[in-house]
């Protein structure tokens, strides 16, 4: 090999496109695993569709020319004054007790449910993380007081108190959000506290303290990022609870007030129509069920995707299954590579 050859090779190596060495962060791995989870992806799609329906509810109302709160006593009710069924007189999902378009109202109900679900979860997460971090990090009397408070909120029959609060302050969207957030932070705080208690004993926290980091810097810059994963999972799983809670309050007449459409108050209005108008009960229930189910499935998917142990279990199971096929090349199996990298 001549020197010219070597030079040419060196030139080629220099000109070759630089292959970046990609770092695989925990988040990247999680996203990859989540993408392969069909159930979670379908749930995500359902949630996105629901959000779009909620956002474009006024557009749908304009499309079918039926504003949400307008009653159609002639087209929307039969001669006996009863609601008409799906597909009659241009009402795709039928009408409700006063002859309003059920489909438009179900979409408008999604606005309330999703808004309440997401806002309360966000508020409760912020409060729960702050309280849990403080209790876990400072310990001592702070911890005792905050932990007792958390337990008290968790143990209280909260629907009863929620009813009372809703009545005392008058039912409204703000009160619904306040009441749900008030009861939601405790569960998050308890988990964050537990995690903080174990994290603060780690060496890297001691290292941070030894170079003079203050308590707030340690809490928010060193501990908090390590808590994001469990908090994200609890938050996703809390959204359906908040949606259910709002629907329950509205069902009892203490949440969103008619004529504003909410799935809860629609189902409450549907009560006298069990025998005569099944659609009035079934469609709002179905909307509620689909939404909460989608959030629950997505939350489960995120949890599984974030937990490397489930991945290792899956990989082990796959290995066991493929034991029959000897020496099957397995390094093309992305699961195994990811499981190895995650350690």
């Amino acid at each position: 090999m001549s020197i010219a050859d070597l030079e040419r090779q060196a030139q080629q190596a220099e000109n070759a496109p630089v292959r970046a060495i990609e770092g695989r962060s925990q988040w990247w791995l999680t996203r990859q695993r989540l993408r392969r989870d069909k159930v979670a992806m379908i749930s995500l799609a359902v949630i996105i569709i629901m959000v779009l329906l909620a956002i474009f509810a006024p557009a749908f109302a304009a499309l079918v020319h039926h504003p949400a709160n307008t009653a159609y006593p002639i087209a929307g009710e039969n001669s006996a004054g009863q609601p008409v069924g799906p597909g009659t007189n241009g009402f795709w999902l039928g009408t409700d007790d006063t002859g309003r378009d059920l489909m438009v109202r179900v979409f408008y109900g999604a606005r309330i449910s999703l808004f309440v679900g997401i806002v309360t979860t966000a508020l409760a997460t912020v409060a729960g993380v702050a309280i849990g971090l403080t209790a876990g990090y400072f310990g001592g009397i702070t911890d005792t007081i905050l932990a007792r408070l958390t337990d008290a909120v968790l143990a209280f029959p909260f629907v009863v108190l929620a009813l009372a609060l809703a009545v005392v302050f008058g039912p409204s969207l703000t009160i619904v959000i306040a009441v749900i957030s008030f009861f939601a932070w405790a569960g998050i705080a308890r988990i964050v506290r537990g995690q903080t208690l174990s994290l603060k004993e780690k060496e890297y926290i001691e290292a941070a303290r030894s170079i003079g980091a203050g308590p707030f810097r340690i809490m928010f810059i060193d501990i908090l990022p390590n808590l994001l994963a469990p908090v994200l999972v609890i938050a996703t799983l809390y959204i359906p609870n908040a949606v259910i809670f709002e629907a329950t309050l509205s069902f009892l007449g203490l949440g969103i007030q008619p004529p504003t459409a909410s799935w809860g108050n629609m189902l409450s209005a549907a009560q006298p129509f069990y025998q005569t108008a099944w659609w009035f009960v079934v469609f709002p229930s179905l909307a509620l069920l689909i939404t909460t189910l989608a959030f629950n499935l997505l939350g489960d998917g995120i949890r599984d995707a974030m937990d490397p142990t489930t991945e290792r279990l899956l990989a082990a199971r796959r290995r066991k299954r493929s034991r029959g096929a000897l020496f099957r090349p397995r390094n093309d199996d992305p699961d195994l590579i990811i499981a190895g990298d995650a350690k």
């Binding site: 029959p157 629907v159 009863v160 108190l161 329950t248 069902f251 069990y274 025998q275 229930s285």
Partner: protein, 321 residues
């Protein structure tokens, strides 16, 4: 000795909790102006004089602290006061409305625990079987359904068609056991199922997860290698250890159970404590509300003491201190 001491301490702390709950509710409702209460009682067209006389009658014109001491004194004598609207004694009202609520809670809890734990154990021992997959899906649906939706769907899908076809055993509303056990069961069946479905879902999932973890422990392998029957391994060694976290979850969920009870009573028109309390809340009938909240809180306190006792029975490492 330790046991008696534990009981005394728990009862005392329970009384403190009840006092806190009663006071909290009392002051919460005094956040509302007295006028609105009197207005509701006297009607919209009442003259100011009439409203004033109503306020005086109810003793609402006294300073709050005076009313509070009066209220506490009555409470110590076991008197919950009288309804603002019907002048009926709250004690009598609660006595009257208790049977539907008690039937609902008793039957619902039994059904809930049998279904939840049973299905959980079955799916853990048959992990990844068809039964396990089906139960996982059902659990998720159960977790995603509000109690009242379960109730309403049961009415639309079971009660209405059955009654339309002349099968009238299953009913809504309440009928006491005095009218025959069959009638009572028929009336309570759907409410029981609604209560159990939603609650059981959490427990099936918890039981399955715990039992799966437990069955992977070394001592289970030891038990198997000793030649114990599979049934004995699962129930004596597996389930017993797996039950501890389930029982501690129970303590938390009892409060939620009461919320479910209120909703189910409204859906099925059972005329129990919950439904009466909701009606009282609408009317600002303070003594009735406080009475209900106190009964609910007492129930939670007692149930939590029982849960703690069961806990120590299950896990000898937990000592009563």
């Amino acid at each position: 000795m330790t046991f008696a001491w534990f009981l005394v301490r728990r009862v005392l702390s329970g009384i403190v909790v009840l006092w806190a709950v009663a006071s909290g509710t009392f002051f919460l409702f005094f956040a509302r102006p007295v006028q609105t209460v009197a207005h509701q009682l006297a009607g919209r067209t009442a003259t100011p004089e009439v409203i004033q006389s109503v306020i005086n009658q109810l003793g609402l014109n006294q300073p709050i602290m005076t009313q509070y001491w009066h209220f506490l004194g009555r409470l110590l004598h076991g008197n919950l006061g009288y309804s603002f609207f019907t002048q009926q004694s709250v004690n009598t009202m609660i006595g009257q409305d208790l049977p539907p609520t008690a039937s609902l809670v008793a039957g619902g809890v039994i059904l809930w625990l049998i279904a939840g734990l049973g299905v959980g154990i079955l799916s853990a021992t048959r992990a990844r079987s068809l039964f396990d997959r089906a139960s996982t899906v059902l659990v998720l649906i159960g977790l995603s359904m509000p109690v009242f939706v379960v109730g309403e769907l049961l009415i639309v899908a079971v009660f209405v068609p059955l009654n339309q076809h002349g099968f009238t055993w299953i009913q809504t509303q309440y009928a006491g056991p005095s009218q025959g056990l069959g009638v009572w069961t028929g009336h309570m069946l759907l409410p029981w199922i609604s209560l159990a479905v939603v609650q059981a879902a959490v427990y099936t999932r918890l039981m399955r997860g715990q039992l799966l973890t437990t069955l992977g422990e070394d001592y289970i392998r030891t038990a198997r290698s000793k030649g114990l029957s599979e049934r004995r391994v699962i129930f004596r060694h597996g389930v017993r250890a797996a039950l501890t976290p389930v029982v501690s979850q129970l303590g938390i969920d009892i409060g939620q159970l009461l919320g479910g009870v209120v909703v189910i009573e409204v859906v099925f028109g059972l005329q129990g404590l919950g439904q009466v309390a909701v009606a009282a809340i609408y009317q600002d009938d303070l003594p009735v509300i406080i009475g209900f909240v106190l009964v609910a809180a007492a129930f939670v306190v007692v149930a939590n003491i029982i849960v703690d006792l069961v806990y120590t029975l299950l896990d000898p490492r937990v000592r009563i201190t």
